[in-house]
Symmetry: C2
């Protein structure tokens, strides 16, 4: 008997609205605070940095559904709806009774889910008459997504790319340039922040914190320019819910409902995207789905961090955010899953974690690559090192189901492919990668610094 | 008004048979000849090199339809049916009345159409009880496809990769290794052919011809081992017809029929795949579709070669093939579209060309990359340098339609994406690439050598 593998939605079933989970939460997240006044943030506080519509979405705690503009839906159609896939070959390899489904966001032309928010952000900037935007990128997934989005809506984009990534990931840089973006290795001489660091440490290899500072500074000092961010913030999670809303309909086509929803976790954008629409059924319809975030053992904010107000960036320029954090000065090990090397979690996810409405597991680097290779060899797709964390967590749960002899339905988000990250697999196959362990003392020393912030 | 962009077939509409065009051809191609006896080739002549089913498909001139085994269809479902996409953003950028559709083969997990034949070839080898297979790869698309196909059917694979590609395309090598293949830079010390060349020319950078010789030698000298090839041959074209058969149904969904079908041309595998099913309607139903192959100006076998018996490889180990050729010793310039650097065309396409049932255009390297960048910036997908030739030819036709003010329906095959070829775009954007022109004398000198073969 032939078996269906892919569940495809027609374009006219592309969601018309994004889902804002905040109104449905039993406990609302604490407000973000203005870093100067320490007062709850108002949209106007954000207008100099972000497009107004995005600032309003960021602080919207009342509207459950936000319309997706037609112009954005038109661009979504380049790759959306994305397929839901039954991973039958992986199931066979694991000999598990579990049914494993994945939402395949790797079919996006930029190779990851990041485009879902990049298109929305570029659109709202354009609509406001903004002509130039800036951002930073570490691993490069967000920068590539925003490069195409900016080009498609006719915006000029400057991307500050962490210098070590700029040099180690030339394909990412070329991709951004092919889509027409200016890519500047950070630290650079183009900003005060960059010049200061380069003067003091001429050979500094850069960090996400410095790149954020440079991107914000350029946005503030350029006429008609705004800054954009690819994770952590509420409006980014909002845009990413298109993933879960599609997956809901597709699980229905498959005739199943997930017992578990799993995604890798950096700042939370892909986890939020696939989870929030299903969490609403736990809240409103009595469903008992488990939601599991998979973070790297080297950057375990949800499994070992503290819940506290902290800055979103190293330099402390952003609002104070109520979050699970390892401290904004935490320097994660240089694992290949660059997109997961972030010290904190967004406010909504942090509240969900605090309220035990989701779980978190940590995954060692070698386990993530082992899972990634098995997935490539069974399902064909070489996963991004980030997404391989979700696969590792999925495999763990599928093997538990096998031990218990129970048929569990697992849905995970394949946030992206790894075709532009093959050096990572190369090093893994050559045996050149290691695990990273983090002592409690290391975590405590950063967390202790936090106490002084408020 | 919202407009449909993608036309998706459900999995149960995946073709059940491949289409063999030979029985429908008004003039049958001349037979391939045994290189020793110069007699028409019999399937048995090929059994020592190819799996028997593949050898039989190669010489089948009577059956129009060949069943696709269920096991192959199951694996096709990992990525097939692939989308047919209306390139509305490209149309807008060109301001053309033409309707441009593309068949998106880049969604294959290996990034190109090559998997369509790789899965079939691996399956038929496995079915015959073969345990080991060999092949060669230049640009790397075929090698990566066969690596996943071999793993998925449990075969051991050795890939001889042209040494200069092995060193310049580390991502391709890593991909093959991730899927479990042995990758050997060619020339190597593992074969007599390799050792001979390395002894005479220790710093030789390799060629496709040498790599073929090594792969065939290893297959002949290893128990239970066969050789596989990713283009040129009839059975490869046969497997690729799944592209055009799907596109037929999808054009029907779109409510249009193509006035032109366009594909890039190396050995002919993707051109055959998208064209043959539509050519049958020209033959049988009086349709007047034009079929246009886009070859690089630096390797113009169809536009400037001669129709003659020639060898498929540099060394002259293969059968003699009736083909349009530049001579098997022709050394094409080192353009980035490595998959198009081949001296000849398959027998069926050559016959179609001779009978004026198709056309050929040549595309300069800089025009191909200009087209590739425009496509990336409008439709989001960075095309493979090979596929960019088809896009350039499509743009030329769309601009002609604009001049003439006629609505033409153009269908082209996007054979693959370029995410693993970003160094090529990098060099293009940096202004480091050039065009290549080829004098008549250069072509003539190679073609003259041919006269002596038979």
């Amino acid at each position: 008997m032939e078996q269906t593998k892919k569940f495809l939605l027609p374009e006219n079933e592309l969601p018309e609205k994004w889902y804002n989970i905040i109104p449905d939460l039993p406990n609302k997240p604490k407000p973000m605070l203005h870093p100067g006044t320490k007062q709850p943030l108002k949209p106007e506080d954000l207008y100099p940095i972000f497009a107004e519509s995005l600032a309003q979405q960021e602080l919207n705690t009342t509207d459950s559904w936000i319309e997706i503009p037609d112009e954005v839906r038109e661009k979504y159609k380049i790759y959306r709806p994305t397929p839901l896939v039954r991973a039958r070959n992986l199931e066979k390899a694991l000999d598990t009774p579990a049914h494993i489904y994945f939402k395949n966001e790797s079919v996006s032309p930029v190779g990851s889910h990041k485009l879902n928010s990049a298109l929305a952000q570029a659109y709202f900037c354009k609509k406001q008459g903004i002509t130039n935007i800036t951002t930073e990128t570490g691993a490069g997934q967000w920068g590539t997504a925003l490069s195409f989005a900016a080009k498609t809506f006719g915006l000029e984009l400057a991307v500050y790319m962490v210098k070590i990534s700029y040099e180690q990931k030339p394909y990412r840089r070329s991709l951004m340039q092919t889509w027409g973006a200016q890519v500047i290795p950070s630290p650079s001489m183009s900003t005060k922040a960059g010049r200061k660091i380069l003067t003091e440490h001429p050979s500094y290899q850069g960090s996400l914190g410095t790149a954020i500072s440079e991107a914000i500074e350029l946005a503030m000092e350029t006429p008609n320019c705004r800054y954009t961010l690819g994770s952590v913030l509420n409006h980014v999670s909002l845009h990413q819910t298109v993933i879960g809303l599609e997956a809901e309909k597709q699980m229905e086509m498959a005739g199943e409902y997930p017992d578990m929803v799993i995604a890798c976790f950096g700042g939370g954008s892909n986890f939020s995207g696939i989870s929030f629409p299903f969490i609403r059924h736990n809240i409103k319809d009595g469903k008992k789905t488990r939601f599991i975030s998979a973070e790297p053992a080297s950057c375990p904010k949800l499994t070992r961090g503290v819940f506290q107000y902290d800055f979103g960036d190293e330099a402390g320029y952003t609002p104070l955010i109520p979050m699970f954090t390892l401290g904004h000065n935490f320097a994660p090990a240089h694992i290949h899953a660059g997109g997961l090397r972030y010290h904190g979690a967004g406010t909504i996810v942090s509240q969900l974690m605090k309220d035990k409405m989701m779980e978190a597991v940590d995954i060692q680097q070698l386990d993530s690559f082992k899972a990634g290779v098995l997935f490539a060899q069974t399902e064909g797709i070489v996963p991004a090192p980030e997404s391989a964390h979700a696969i590792a967590a999925t495999i763990n749960e599928a093997l538990k189901a096998k031990e218990e002899g129970t048929k569990k339905v697992i849905l995970f988000n394949l946030s992206g492919h790894g075709l532009v990250d093959m050096t990572a697999y190369d090093q893994y196959l050559a045996g050149d990668l290691t695990n990273y362990s983090l002592s409690d003392a290391e975590i405590q020393s950063n967390v202790n610094q936090l106490e002084k912030i408020i």
